[in-house]
């Protein structure tokens, strides 16, 4: 039972690393809390559902489509909202409200177009595609969809890693994360780079939506709020403002949830939050964060 919970938790955690990724990326670059984060995950799920039922697309085909669609969407959204926000006195707090509004609007629009329903793509879609329904790891049997999701998450993490550390754009992005003002002075097109990072963040969220059916069950219009809250937990557990720390946060979250479900199922929900408070008080910058100097 323990080994099952641990291995399952790691796979589950990889997925939650992806769930938190976009929120952390946007926080790192803009110092803004995207309260609509979970709603973009929901949008990704609805896109997947829609393409599946209209054209029979497998979620694996939806992945590149949703990345492109939401990258562009996020890029444009940045220009509509963010420059204006940055002029205000306290962009960090104002963004909080703005994105709350965005989240309301997204939910309302989805309800107007799709109605208020739970939706799913068949959970056995990968089993049919690969003609195998389960796989065994160290004597524990898991659904094949978990393997697909885990691989997809790892690929996404590698791509984000490459984007961050092996591209010029990533270098500029990291410069902005370190110090927006200095980046501006040193001639980086801060708005463009941030807009791309914003797009990547939204795209990562939508990707979590595409994969969501296999890890968190059916999708529905109001699912966003819970996911945003969980994402907060994950990114702080990892390192706020450091996207790759999110993976660690996700893994801790995943393993903790699975262990709790095994041993104290009714307390499952409390643990991540207590863990978060504990971590934040001991090491506010997150488990992976660097120590920050005051003054």
């Amino acid at each position: 039972m323990l080994s099952y919970a641990l291995i399952g938790g790691i796979m589950y955690g990889l997925y939650f690393g992806l769930v938190g990724m976009g929120l952390n990326l946007i926080f790192g670059v803009m110092r803004m809390i995207n309260l609509a984060h979970g709603d973009f995950i929901m949008l990704g799920a609805f896109l997947t559902y829609w393409l599946y039922y209209l054209f029979g697309f497998n979620p694996l085909i939806v992945i590149p489509i949703s990345i492109v669609v939401f990258l562009v969407f996020g890029f444009l959204m940045y220009y509509v909202f963010v420059p204006k926000l940055l002029h205000s006195k306290d962009p960090e707090m104002l963004s909080f409200i703005l994105f709350f509004g965005v989240s309301q609007v997204i939910e309302a629009i989805i309800i107007l177009f799709f109605g208020n329903n739970q939706i799913s793509v068949p959970s056995t879609i990968f089993a049919k595609l690969f003609n195998v329904s389960t796989f065994t790891l160290f004597g524990n049997t898991f659904p094949i969809s978990w393997l697909v999701v885990s691989v997809a998450c790892i690929v996404a993490f590698v791509l984000i890693y490459v984007y961050f550390f092996y591209t010029k754009l990533g270098y500029a992005t990291r410069a902005i994360m370190a110090n927006r003002h200095e980046a501006l002075v040193s001639g980086i097109d801060v708005n463009k780079v941030s807009a791309i990072a914003f797009g990547v963040g939204i795209a990562a969220a939508s990707l979590a939506g595409v994969m969501g059916f296999f890890m968190i069950g059916a999708a529905f219009p109001s699912m966003g709020t819970d996911l945003t809250t969980i994402s907060f937990t994950i990114i702080v557990l990892g390192a706020l403002g450091n996207p790759l720390g999110t993976v660690i946060g996700g893994l801790i979250y995943g393993v903790a949830i699975m262990l709790m479900q095994t041993y104290f199922s009714s307390w499952t929900n409390v643990l991540p939050y207590l863990l978060l408070i504990f971590v934040i008080l001991i090491k506010p910058e997150g488990l992976l964060g660097k120590a920050v100097r005051n003054v």
Partner: protein
């Protein structure tokens, strides 16, 4: 001067007295039915479905010239006043009050479920207006000192598993696993089932609560399997049931018996989300339209209702649509039989036809406190037939249509 003031007083009394008489005599132009629904938030799906059912009833009675009101000896059209509470109890409080104090509705109908109904209960009591509770089955609502509530559709959730328990005992199934979501609705079922089975000496090998927003049951299923039970009972909200059944299918695990709540209520939704295979040989509480009540003495039978509802909305009805419509029927019968047009008279009228009225939702019977104690929910099993599923009622013997396929192949 004294004469003058006497005249004023007389005139005043006259006007007051006359208007009082006029008020009680004159029939209202409309019967105002007030209700709330949630277009967004966690309760939106079931709430809008019930609302649609109620709307259908209004549409249907108005097409016949309104509802017959015995107190005025004539048909009066129904006007529906409805607001959106967005699944928020704080908003619902305000809006229920709006219906009572601003719109002065004649009939107050609650929103879906216990959470959104809860805030209406004390409001209705203090404003002395009868609350037609659609599916709010919270046991705390029904108290001897409150005549202003009637539960129209489902029995209180603690009574739901009565037949399920009997079924398990009669089939001599031992080693039961129960996993339930920690909310009012599911926990009260789990507690009832647990106690009944324990009393009958059935072994319960797994009995755990999970948070209501649990969306992944893979590990839990694995842990249940480790206890090697003969039956797995999962009490949850629709989301829980969907996740549970999806995870069960993709895990490749097999159990002799699997019971979930919502396939019997929201069959289409569950089928669309989890597929035919995941439901095969599964058990549930069947409700209309899976249960076909055609011999009714109030409103339409299920066949006719399905036809009419489809004409009206373009969709085949689910259980919640029926629950919404059923409330309409109870209101209709109340107005048809109440001698006076006031709230306590309504309640008295309801007591009068309680236990006698049979609708497409089954027998309508309430106790003194207004809680529903009508027909018990039977136990049904889905068996594959062609590409689809067939539902067999397997318990109680009086309603049985086929023998349970146990263990599941």
């Amino acid at each position: 001067m004294r004469k003058f003031s006497a005249l004023i007083v007389f005139l005043f009394l006259f006007v007051v007295g006359f208007s009082g008489i006029a008020m009680s005599k004159e029939a209202p132009k409309y019967i105002k039915v007030g209700t709330l629904y949630a277009s967004s938030g966690p309760f939106a799906k079931p709430s809008t479905a019930e609302f649609k059912g109620l709307n259908f009833w209004v549409h249907y009675v108005n097409s016949k010239g309104g509802v017959y009101v015995k107190a005025f000896h004539k048909r009066i059209p129904v006007k529906l006043v409805a607001y959106d509470d967005q699944s928020s109890t704080a908003t619902a409080t305000t809006l229920y009050n709006q219906l009572i104090t601003q719109d002065h509705v004649n009939i107050l109908v609650a929103d879906f479920g216990s959470v959104l109904t809860s805030v209406a209960v004390p409001l209705a009591k203090v404003h002395k207006i009868l609350l037609f509770d659609v599916t709010g089955t919270g046991s705390k609502f029904f108290t001897p000192d409150n005549p202003y509530i009637v539960l129209c559709s489902l029995p209180t959730s603690g009574r739901w598993p009565y037949t399920l328990a009997d079924f398990i005992i009669s089939e001599k199934i031992n080693r039961i696993a129960i996993v339930y979501s920690s909310n009012d609705f599911d926990q009260s079922q789990a507690v009832t089932l647990h106690n009944k089975l324990k009393k009958a000496g059935v072994d319960i090998v797994y009995y755990h609560a999970v948070p209501s927003n649990t969306s992944n049951y893979s590990i839990i299923l694995h842990n249940i399997k480790a206890k090697n039970p003969n039956a797995v009972i999962e009490f949850g909200y629709p989301n829980n049931d969907i996740a549970f059944l999806q995870n069960l299918e993709s895990s490749g695990l097999k159990f002799n018996m699997v019971f979930t709540v919502f396939p019997g209520q929201l069959f289409k939704l569950l089928k669309a989300n989890v597929g035919v295979k995941a439901l095969s040989y599964g058990y549930t509480y069947p409700t209309p339209p899976l249960l076909r009540y055609n011999k009714v003495n109030l409103g339409m039978g299920i066949d006719k209702f399905e036809k009419e509802f489809e004409k009206y909305s373009g969709k085949t009805p689910n259980f919640l649509n029926i629950a919404g419509y059923n409330v309409g029927l109870i209101i209709q019968k109340t107005l048809e039989t109440s001698k006076k047009f006031n709230q306590l008279a309504f309640r008295k009228a309801i007591a009068g036809f309680s236990g006698k009225a049979f609708t497409l939702d089954g027998l309508f019977k309430v106790n003194k406190e207004g809680a529903q104690i009508g027909e018990m929910l039977p136990v049904a099993q889905f068996v594959p037939r062609g590409q689809g599923l067939k539902m067999n009622i397997v318990y109680p013997p009086s309603m049985k249509t086929a023998k349970a396929v146990y263990p599941a192949p």
